[in-house]
Symmetry: none
DNA sequence: TATTTATCCCCCACTTTTCCCCACAGTCTA
DNA sequence: TAGACTGTGGGGAAAAGTGGGGGATAAATA
């Protein structure tokens, strides 16, 4: 399970070090793709394949299915870590997530997310106040 | 499986390089045809044949079936890559997809899509805002 | 039928990008 | 304090993408 928050730099070549703590779970190759809030999702192969299977069950004749599949699959890239444990982020994803230099890598259970540091701080502070309301509607009964 | 996003140029002769990453899956000959959002779909032969079978199962007595089959089949062309790994796009498809110079080639699971860069950016930014909503309604239960 | 015109491929050469390797600095551990 | 590990930066070789020229084949015209 992915937990925690790490602050790493992405360099001019689009390389960013994956926290060593995660490498055991991720292995040497895995998938990254566009995330919904302009961040990057990092999935172990199994998890990603599972989502793809779900998406493939949707017909391409449905507009929303096309849009989401395009969004999700076109952003996806198979990553292999180099000997230093870094992932090479393709430039379309770098610009999608507005990664400049300072990045944040956070674990969110079944995946990692890579954020631009400023964007992450902004997002977190913007919903900190609402968190009480957000939590309110998540579950009906006791968890 | 086709994933990823590549930015290539189409030249005056209508040639565009298919990303080398895809050539293994596609092989040397495959099918391209009109896609729904004014882009070009690229299918391996098997996949294309499978869709054709599906379309043929629709009765020609239905107006929509006739229209869509006509749309899909009339645009189709068999492509052979040249020795540089480029596909020659027939001019009707070039104009259908408004390809000028800068193009985007994206993988969407079972096929590739070739877009004019401007058109692609426009489409993606137009549905970026909705992507959260779209994702919201795609699945009811956990995927 | 012969000549011209156009089209399509193939090949070569250049540029750009990508990938892989090495090196260094800071931190933690034994 | 020495050694190992982690994160960061840069250089060089190889691959991928791009553009243009030339020859073969097909179409068009006299």
């Amino acid at each position: 399970m992915f937990i925690g928050e790490f602050h790493h730099n992405i360099d001019d070549k689009g390389r960013i070090a994956i926290p060593s703590k995660y490498r055991d779970i991720l292995g040497n190759d895995f998938i990254i793709t566009r995330g919904i809030e302009h961040c990057i999702y990092v999935y172990p192969n199994d998890t990603f394949n599972h989502i793809v299977t779900k998406l493939e069950s949707l017909p391409f004749t449905k507009k929303d299915a096309r849009a989401f599949t395009r969004f999700f699959m076109s952003g996806a890239t198979a990553i292999e870590l180099d000997k230093q444990g870094r992932a090479n982020i393709p430039s379309p994803l770098v610009s999608y997530a507005n990664l400049s230099k300072k990045c944040v890598i956070v674990g969110t259970g079944d995946r990692l997310e890579i954020w631009d540091e400023d964007a992450f701080n902004e997002f977190m502070s913007s919903c900190n106040d609402e968190m009480s309301d957000i939590a309110e509607n998540l579950f009906e009964e006791k968890i």
